[in-house]
């Protein structure tokens, strides 16, 4: 695992450069820079791997995979996350008893996934290899549809599953473990913790 320390200025300038909506949004950084996992894995409550429907990455057993660098259709992700109990739904609003996921896509296919906080206090996004953030609205990390813009495009699909399914699939347990890891990191890096709060 590679946890990297980034200064407040470095972190904020970088994140705002590629996610311009964050400049006017309410959000906070919740973990250090870590290249061991990305947003798709974080949506599945995993912080130890990169997930993508391709043989070079971990993907749900038995689910179809795509050759790179072809497009990554949203349907592949809907099928993959169905194995964790998620099903498509229409609204991204918090519903008591349900946990939700949002799938972002641009003209090249899926680009990002965000997981709703268990109690509806915003959305958890892992920004590539960079930090995890918690943002209030899905649009906070949305952006241009063009591939060359290097942004996430728009939300194409929202999925949901019941809390009980989340507990059964081990998501809650893994999230708690991950939060303890971040908490320990914050204790051992007080300057990072200050930088995080400034965000």
């Amino acid at each position: 695992m590679a946890l990297l320390f980034r200064t407040a200025a470095e972190m904020l300038n970088h994140l705002r450069e590629w996610h311009p909506n964050l400049a006017v949004a309410t959000w906070r950084i919740s973990s250090p820079y870590n290249d061991s996992y990305q947003c798709i894995a974080w949506a599945a409550c995993r912080a130890d791997r990169h997930m993508w429907p391709h043989e070079s990455y971990w993907w749900f057993p038995g689910c179809p995979q795509i050759p790179i660098p072809e497009q990554a259709p949203v349907q592949y992700f809907v099928q993959g996350f169905a194995t964790l109990g998620y099903e498509p739904c229409d609204s991204d609003a918090f519903e008591f008893g349900y946990q939700k996921l949002a799938i972002y896509a641009n003209e090249l296919g899926v680009t990002h996934m965000a997981r709703q906080h268990f109690l509806g206090r915003g959305w958890l996004s892992k920004l590539g290899d960079c930090e995890d953030i918690v943002h209030q609205e899905l649009d906070d990390v949305a952006g241009e549809m063009s591939v060359m813009a290097g942004q996430y495009g728009k939300v194409f699909q929202v999925l949901r599953r019941s809390w009980w399914t989340a507990v059964k699939k081990g998501c809650i347990f893994r999230s708690i473990l991950h939060n303890i890891e971040h908490w320990l990191y914050r204790i051992s890096h007080p300057s990072w913790n200050r930088a995080r709060r400034n965000g």
Binding site: M1, C39, A72
Partner: protein, 163 residues
């Protein structure tokens, strides 16, 4: 210099002299023709010796240029794509494509640069490495686990004498 310090045999530097011309192969034939061919051989040898450092310098300079170009593109690629999670989107970046283009021309050199960069900076060159080497040393059970993927590729690089 102490006599016993460096020589096993019973001889020291001051007593040593090179072999005389008579013991050298060139003096076996003493005709004029052989003398000319000998001169030609010496001329070729001198020419070769003269060319060697020039070629070596050229090669080193080309390598340095390639490395500088690789580093520049790799840094740009990382700076502009590290916030992205989609490997497809990261690969479509012009810098990644430029590096793949460099790899098509200097395959082993670019593979070596990628492996070193993977070792030092952990930039995820996995797909480019697979593409250029036509190989994938990562076990299916390690797919997606970055530390293990890096280690598999570094082991492969050592086996292929690229590291």
């Amino acid at each position: 210099m102490a006599r016993d310090e460096f020589c096993d045999a019973d001889i020291c530097t001051s007593e040593w002299s090179p072999r005389g011309p008579s013991s050298h192969g060139w003096h076996v034939a003493s005709t004029e023709k052989s003398a000319r061919s000998r001169q030609d051989a010496i001329a070729r040898m001198i020419e070769d010796i003269w060319q060697m450092p020039i070629e070596a310098c050229d090669a080193t300079e080309a390598d340095l240029r390639l490395e500088a170009k690789f580093r520049e593109q790799a840094e740009k690629w990382e700076r502009e794509t590290r916030h992205l999670s989609s490997p497809t989107q990261r690969m479509m970046h012009p810098s990644y494509q430029a590096i793949l283009g460099m790899g098509a021309e200097h395959r082993r050199k670019v593979l070596r640069l990628m492996l070193r960069d993977l070792q030092v900076n952990r930039r995820p060159w996995f797909w480019a490495l697979s593409y250029l080497s036509q190989n994938n040393p990562v076990k299916p059970s390690d797919a997606g686990k970055i530390d293990k993927m890096i280690q598999s590729w570094l082991n492969w690089g050592k086996a292929e004498r690229l590291l």
